[in-house]
Amino acid sequence: MTNFRDHMGRPIVAVTGIGVVTSLGVGKADNWAALTSGKSGIHPITRFPVDHLNTRISGMVDFLDSSSKGASPLTYELAETAAHEAVAESGLDSSDFGGPLFLASPPVELDWHERFSLYNSDSQDAGAERLLRVARALKELDIFETTQFGSIADRLADRFGTRGLPITLSTACASGATAIQLGVEAIRRGECDRALSIGADGSATAEALIRFSLLSALSTHNDIPEKASKPFSKDRDGFVLAEGSGALVLESLEAALARGATVLGILRGCGEKADDFHRTRSKPDGSPAIAAVRAALADAGLSKDEIDYVNAHGTSTPENDKMEHLSLSTVFGERIGSMPVSSNKSMIGHTLSAAGAVEAAFSLMTMRESVIPPTINYDNPDPAIVLDVVPNKKRNAEVRSVLSNSFGFGGQNTCLVMAREPV
């Protein structure tokens, strides 16, 4: 008889559907083929002019209908596309999902194109006064909805028939992992048998790029875009802004098996710890990230020796990669030098609010396919970071368990532990 409870007596949470979109393409098949052949999705920016910009490359998703329509429509389409793939794979009803929705998505703002067009549709007075006057005469709700933080989730809830009040969340670069964690926790508390967790980010606007540039967070290696994201390399100089989405259908193992679903993996543990040091830098001793990793292991009921592979946060910023190495080597000790640790971001860039969900999707595929995607652009190793980053070429390997890290600006750190088998 299958045991449906974990080491703490909680329902075991299975994954029964996975969906993903990145600059490498739509869907698991295209993404996995590209990812395992070491292909980069980073390319020159064409969505808007790059005059005056220090960074002129990104991992934007330029091939969807909404790609040029602004952050809110694109984020919705990314979320919808990934969720559709995940729900279809799970075999559940894609218009009557019947469980709660957890959406990680970027904060919304009135798009500059809308701002310009509202402003220039009138000529009386100026500034905010004019915008407000034009705004209150609008007859349609379309623009309004792009400015409401809950609207994307509301539309997704309509589309998929999820249950109850959908939760839209942000924990910066950890958001996607937090969305999964919230789904896991809801199932463990017995509030539901299934949950739909999505991370989606289509917010790579000019202003977003400029904001990160002003924080000196972005790579400026514009000349060879596919070489710009180089986690753990000595000459890494920042992350590459990117878009994407990942979606998981989470179910209690018991409910999944009862309806004959295929179990794609187990969401075994989640851990988090907030940093109180600084808005963009982590505590010098790495203690919050270390605590987050340890909390995830403890929650999963696994010892550090039972993790086969680490799907790193690996942003390619000088700060993150150094700190991530420090925390991993503190937790895993000497073993870290021989344990595979790779960064998907070397190929897809940093998909921000989506990253935790996209990388969870890839972690699950890593276990299912017994193939570890490489860290590409690893031509100039940082001697201070001794890791087996699975350099440049995929590796065939049995992977029974994965730790996936997500560390965010604002100090929000979330780690997920996934396993191939229930026990």
């Binding site: 005059d51 309509d158 009040l165 907030a274």
Partner: protein, 396 residues
């Protein structure tokens, strides 16, 4: 019957146009005929309830920290500090590092001067995308991005108050506040958390915050009126207010073991998403009232009604249909505080339970008196546009 895993409220941090702290709010709101604090000129034709004068140093000791936040983050960090102080948690390392946090956040306090200059320049240029790059790369303060970013209210609470157990930020107007309280309570009931900081803030004195309502024509215009009396007046019925509300929710056993004063118990927290375009709002509100497990007998309700015509009218009809309910539309006196609205409603409900007295009517024409001791008080937030929630607050 009380249980060790009940959720109890042990700390309240409030800021609104009426002042700061639970005592100041109780004293003001208990006065019959209290007049609202209104700012009618600065954003005309809109009226707002402005922030009171605040000495930020009292909760955010470092000027450097204050400078890293726009007003909304500062306000939330301040209100969170008030709640932590009130619960005897502030400065206690052991309690802060194990404390979980769920913040309901908006964000987007943009630089109005930079935006206005870009818009003005756009009138004479067709290459607006290039204009944007030119201006934003040179005029934006580098630190502004983080100072207005949604998840950085929680980030600042971690930095300033050292709350570091876990940190989640929920977005989505009133619904975010509802989900934040609901999730925090569920964590405590299931034993996942022993004490959680939950709440939100809203700083309305910024044109983009008004625009967030007015793109759908939600704001009330013309002379101010109480929240229940705006149907038919110019505009959409919402008068917004700046404010913040944070609660310390705690497992009963945890609160008792450290000898803390308990304001009230937080009973059922229920939420929903009516598909309003299909006319589901009335049924949704009725369903929430049932799920909130209202006690027998008369009941005080702290209503977070925004004034938005359709939602407010639906809520009023539902509350009026139950003769036992005496509602208080607190937006009449504070304005609508968006993400903070539901935590604020729960806080006011807890205060009435704790003080064993009801609030007088805030609007004599639309509300009825409540005599006696309110052993339970309902808190509501029916979103001005979407999402609904309620909670029942009970004597501890």
């Amino acid at each position: 019957m009380s249980s060790p895993r009940d959720v109890v409220i042990t700390g309240i941090g409030l800021v609104s146009s009426l002042g700061e702290g639970p005592d100041a709010h109780w004293q003001k709101l208990a006065q019959p005929g209290l007049q609202p604090v209104l700012e009618t000129a600065r954003f005309a034709p809109y009226t707002v309830h402005p922030l009171p004068e605040i000495d930020w140093n009292l909760q955010i000791a470092k000027r450097g920290d204050q400078r890293q936040m726009e007003t909304w983050q500062r306000l939330g960090t301040y209100a969170a500090g008030l709640a932590l102080d009130d619960a005897g948690i502030k400065g206690n390392d052991e309690l802060c590092t194990t404390m979980d946090m769920v913040v309901a956040a908006g964000g987007g306090e943009r630089d109005e001067a930079v935006d206005a200059a870009i818009l003005a320049a756009s009138e004479s240029r067709n290459d607006r995308d290039v204009l944007l790059n030119e201006k934003l790369t040179t005029e934006l303060r580098p630190t502004l991005f983080l100072a207005q970013l949604s998840n950085l209210l929680a980030g600042n609470i971690s930095i300033v108050h050292k709350v570091t157990g876990s940190s989640r930020t929920f977005m989505g107007e009133e619904g975010a506040g509802v989900s934040a309280v609901e999730t925090a309570a569920a964590r405590i009931r299931s034993g996942q958390s022993t004490h959680v900081l939950v709440g939100g803030a809203f700083q309305t004195e910024h044109s983009d915050m008004l625009l967030g309502y007015e793109l759908a024509g939600y704001l009330h215009r013309g002379p101010w009126k109480p929240v229940w009396q705006r149907q038919g007046a110019a505009g959409g019925g919402v008068v917004s207010g700046s404010g913040g509300a944070f609660l310390v929710l705690e497992q009963r056993e945890h609160a008792v073991s450290r000898g803390r004063r308990i304001y009230a118990e937080l009973g059922p927290v229920v939420s929903g998403r009516a598909r309003r375009s299909r006319g589901e709002l009335d049924a949704e509100i009725a369903g929430l009232l049932i799920r909130a497990a209202l006690p027998n007998g008369k009941l005080l309700a702290m209503s977070g009604a925004s004034g938005a015509h359709a939602a407010t009218s639906a809520e009023k009809t539902a509350l009026d249909a139950n003769p036992a309910i005496a509602a208080r539309g607190f937006s009449t006196l504070t304005g609508h505080m968006k993400e903070a609205q539901f935590p604020f409603a729960v806080a006011l409900a807890a205060l009435a339970v704790d003080r064993k007295a009801a609030y007088p009517v805030f609007d004599a024409a639309a509300e009825k008196p409540f005599e006696g001791i309110p052993a339970s008080v309902l808190a509501t937030a029916i979103g001005y546009h979407q999402f609904e929630g309620m909670a029942l607050v009970k004597s501890a």
